[in-house]
């Protein structure tokens, strides 16, 4: 039972970041490989205002989220969009987002130094008993947020006008612009939301591991794995992928040791890629001529 519960909780955390990959992918067909650094940006921005006593915790979190979101929008506008202009096979954005990752990492190393810094914002100490299993409150919070945010995003896309536009863009960006919608604005918007989510994950994760430039990197592999397993094209994907990946890797860890945890997770990715490359909930990409 324990590995299942811990796995679900961990999977939830990965799902939050996986959601950020899915969001940018459905609307812009790009992935931001600097997500790990946006995790740190959120954490550091919140850390910077942590000492403002007059600002409630929610405000501090909001500042971290907004900082990451704003930076995300700018990165899309100036460093992703210009590298997607040559059609579907133009993948220069891949290199430019990796470059963003390097630059941000260097900047943060210079400004903040490499050592983790204690972050007390939104920190929950101790563990709760969940069906007889001790679960860290902090991680439970992350998992719960991932669930709530994912369901929220799904509701938004299904029920609101903005969501309708998002779905339209994901299906046919050219025709969407014929409907008076700016693809650039949609892209910037989804990058903002996606990176805001990454920042949020960072703020909450920093309470556990401290804020440091490299704090997001270790989460990246698992999050991409979760996004792929669930399917990059579906907002439900991260939830399903996170649960599967989390439980499988934990069961393997408990059974055979931690080395096998990650290995089992990656084997799952390979299995999915072989058997259903679009992800469990994904939709086979339509090839446009």
């Amino acid at each position: 039972m324990e590995p299942v519960i811990i796995g679900l909780v961990l999977g939830g955390m990965y799902a939050l970041l996986a959601q950020s990959f899915v969001l940018t992918f459905v609307t812009t067909r790009t992935l931001n490989f600097a997500v790990g650094e946006f995790v740190a940006v959120g954490a550091f921005a919140t850390l910077a205002v942590a000492s403002w006593g007059w600002l409630p915790t929610v405000g501090k979190i909001a500042i971290g989220v907004l900082a990451a979101a704003l930076l995300g929008a700018l990165v899309y506008r100036f460093l992703v969009l210009p590298f997607t202009t040559q059609g579907e096979h133009d993948v220069r954005w891949l290199l430019s987002t990796v470059a963003v990752s390097f630059v941000l990492l260097n900047l943060m190393n210079n400004v903040e130094g490499p050592s983790p810094q204690r972050s007390e914002t939104a920190k929950l100490d101790g563990a709760v008993d969940l069906l007889g299993v001790g679960v860290s409150k902090q991680q439970l919070l992350l998992a719960a947020l991932a669930l709530v945010i994912s369901l929220g995003l799904i509701a938004v896309t299904q029920r609101t006008s903005i969501g309708l536009v998002m779905r339209a863009v994901s299906q046919d960006p050219d025709t969407t612009s014929l409907m008076g919608v700016s693809p650039r604005v949609v892209g910037m918007g989804s990058y903002a939301v996606a990176m805001g989510l990454a920042g949020l994950a960072g703020i909450l994760y920093a309470a556990n591991v401290g804020a440091s430039p490299v704090m997001g990197e270790p989460l990246l592999v698992a999050s991409i794995a979760v996004a792929i397993v669930g399917g990059l094209g579906s907002l439900w994907g991260p939830l399903v992928g996170g649960a599967l990946y989390g439980v499988l890797s934990q069961v393997a860890s408990y059974q055979w040791g931690a080395v096998w945890g990650e290995t089992a997770g990656l084997l799952l990715v390979i299995a999915v890629l072989v058997w259903k490359p679009e992800g469990l909930l994904g939709r086979r990409a339509e090839v446009k001529l």
Partner: protein
């Protein structure tokens, strides 16, 4: 304290900072020389002061730059001390090894062949020292190893041997740790990071256990940056481990393990770790998690000569000692070398200086600590591996070190 960042966290150099640091250092160091001539002749000048051209090599830039900084701090802080005490002035020739073996080899060969240094201090990282060990030995130049812990750097089959260590070695600390971990025939588990440092901890602990008729009950790796360690702790519990050793490179990963231990309500009787816990751990852990964690070290950080060295560095540089253990080791090393040069009277007579180092009678650390005759031809290590000579430390709620007695006491009556 096996403080070796075998794997810097990122390979992206903090270039600006490093340049600024190097510039500042160059200024202070040249300022130390006053208006005197920079001619490092290795022999006494008119005032009877011998100026030694000392090669200093280490990761000036990059994420491991603290491992350069401690040498700089000591030279800045104690330059005058050694000049007053022994009439020896150090004129450093600084080289950046960027924490890479290739750059280390290049830097060391430049120091020897182009700069003609009279002794070499560094590199501080074991792997890089190993890389140049043969070169330095062949070049017959006193090699001042104040940082590295690896035993393999010195091959005592090669005599006379030119390398001297003032840090403890891995085999030494393992003997002390092994005795503590397996006290009362406890079941021992190790959790080690999946990198060079972790692996060498595992290898050394296993080797010691084998030599002494013990075996490990559990071996678990932790990936750098792992999000949790619940499974590791569970597997320790399942294996009945009651004595845990954490050989983990990053303090943050150590925190992940101690957090999981607390979360699981797991209470092993002994939790030992290495000095790596001193960096990057405190800020990501809670007092309840480090309550039972212990480290061992042959140095006394809380009083006496070791502490004097650290205080002096703090006072002179206005910064915390970069790597406290190595700040102390460097002091001891410079003390040994300066005495030897004074005795010989000519730093160019390297073989005589080497011999004087090997025969050193009294090593001074700060004002009040002395270590007598540490070296012999086949033992260039400052410390012994006798648990009676080592100290066990715990941590108070502010994560300040608390001296719990000698390692021997710890073995006999728990700590």
């Amino acid at each position: 304290m096996t403080l070796r960042p075998t794997r810097p966290r990122s390979a992206k150099p903090r270039a600006l900072q490093a340049v600024a640091l190097a510039a500042a250092a160059a200024l202070t160091l040249s300022a130390c020389g006053g208006g005197d001539t920079d001619e490092a002749t290795g022999t006494a000048d008119a005032d009877g002061v011998i100026t030694v051209k000392l090669g200093v090599v280490g990761p000036m830039t990059g994420p491991a730059s603290l491992y350069y900084k401690y040498m700089e701090q000591d030279l800045e802080t104690f330059g005058d001390t050694f000049e007053d005490k022994y009439g020896v002035r150090f004129e450093p020739v600084e080289k950046d090894d960027q924490a890479s073996p290739e750059e280390t080899a290049r830097a060391v060969s430049e120091l020897i062949n182009e700069d003609g240094v009279q002794a070499i201090l560094g590199p501080p990282l074991s792997g890089n020292s190993l890389q140049v060990a043969d070169t330095v030995q062949r070049s017959q130049i006193p090699w001042l190893l104040a940082g590295p812990n690896a035993d393999e750097i010195i091959n005592y089959d090669q005599q006379p041997n030119w390398a001297f260590q003032t840090n403890f070695t891995n085999a030494q600390i393992m003997n002390v740790l092994g005795n503590i971990l397996w006290a009362d025939d406890a079941k021992v588990g190790i959790v080690f990071s999946a990198d060079g440092f972790g692996q060498s901890n595992l290898d050394n602990l296993k080797a010691w256990a084998e030599d002494n008729g013990f075996e490990l009950s559990a071996e678990e790796t932790i990936q750098p940056g792992a999000a949790d360690a619940n499974a590791i702790v569970q597997r320790f519990e399942d294996a009945g481990v009651d004595s845990v050793f954490m050989g983990i490179t990053q303090g943050a990963d150590t925190a992940t393990v101690t957090r999981a231990i607390e979360q699981a309500g797991y209470e092993p009787s002994t939790i030992m770790t290495t000095g790596t816990i001193l960096t990057d751990y405190k800020d990501v852990a809670e007092p309840s998690q480090w309550e039972n964690v212990r480290i061992v070290d042959p140095r006394n950080f809380l009083e006496g000569g070791d502490k004097e060295v650290l205080d002096a560095v703090q006072e002179a540089t206005g910064e915390a000692p970069a790597i406290p253990t190595n700040n102390i080791s460097t002091y001891a090393m410079l003390d040994i070398y300066a005495q030897a040069v004074q005795e010989v009277g000519d730093a160019n007579d390297k073989e005589a200086v080497r011999q004087a180092m090997e025969d050193i009678e009294t090593v001074h650390i700060g004002e009040s600590l002395t270590i007598d005759s540490p070296y012999s031809a086949d033992d260039h290590r400052l410390y012994t591996d006798d648990p009676a000579d080592w100290l066990t430390y715990g941590f108070d709620e502010n994560f300040d070190l608390v001296l719990l007695g000698s390692a021997e006491e710890c073995i006999e009556s728990g700590c």
